[in-house]
């Protein structure tokens, strides 16, 4: 039973560029949440997708957008990258109505 997978593992981008991160949820899960974890901090909620719609959003600007596909996988897009966007981006999956969230290994994004 595969857990949550994310790609790529690492990514280096230049300020002003755009980036797309990908996530496949744990088998049987239908809800995907994205979190940003800055160095030395706890993860911060970005948004959550269920039934291909964004249904909850944290305190992040519109430069952060996402998508969920019919197979429940998800993408996180960040436009106009800033140096402060450098962080570990985590995807978590869950089953709708359940509190338990399972995290993937994350994508380390470095913006130079």
């Amino acid at each position: 039973d595969a857990g949550v997978t994310q790609s790529p593992t690492h990514l280096i981008k230049t300020r002003g560029q755009q980036v797309t991160l990908r996530c496949s949820p744990k088998s049987g899960h239908d809800t995907v949440s994205w979190y940003q974890q800055a160095l030395g901090q706890g993860p911060q909620f970005i948004f959550q997708y269920y039934e291909e719609e964004e249904r909850q959003r944290g305190n992040f600007p519109d430069r952060f957008s996402g998508h969920q596909f019919p197979n429940y996988s998800s993408e996180l897009n960040v436009n106009a990258l800033l140096l402060g966007d450098s962080a570990l981006y985590l995807c978590a999956s869950s089953f709708q109505g359940s509190d338990e969230q399972y995290f993937g290994p994350g994508t380390r994004l470095t913006v130079t």
Partner: protein, 113 residues
């Protein structure tokens, strides 16, 4: 505004000792309290979780103690081992059906041999 406050920031415990990490929350709508363990370069792994209808939950060497009136909860790691050395995060969410987690800032635990 930090809704979940975690302490201490770092902790050193000798092998075989008890590690204790504390969290306090402000939002009384929180009703699910998980703890996550994170090793360097890895994503957080769900360790143990509790709901406010019980005051304690134990799974192996890990115990959560919950004090609803004080709005505090803590993680106890009994017989701490070097392999427990990691960063631990407390978190909280509401039973809104959407379950978005609010995390503490983390505690870096080092268990010395």
């Amino acid at each position: 505004q930090q809704q979940v406050k975690q302490s201490p920031q770092s902790l050193i415990v000798q092998k075989g000792g008890i590690s204790i990490i504390n969290c306090a929350y402000e939002n009384t709508a929180f009703d699910y309290f998980p703890w996550y363990q994170q090793f360097p370069g890895k994503g957080p792994a769900l360790l143990i979780a509790i709901r406010p209808d019980v005051s304690e939950k134990k799974e192996g060497r890990f115990t959560i103690s919950f004090n609803k009136s004080a709005k505090q909860f803590s993680l106890h790691i009994m017989d701490s081992q070097p392999g427990d050395s990691a960063t631990y995060f407390c978190a909280a969410s509401t039973l809104s059906g959407y379950s978005t987690l609010t995390f503490g800032k983390g505690t870096m635990l080092l268990v010395s041999p």
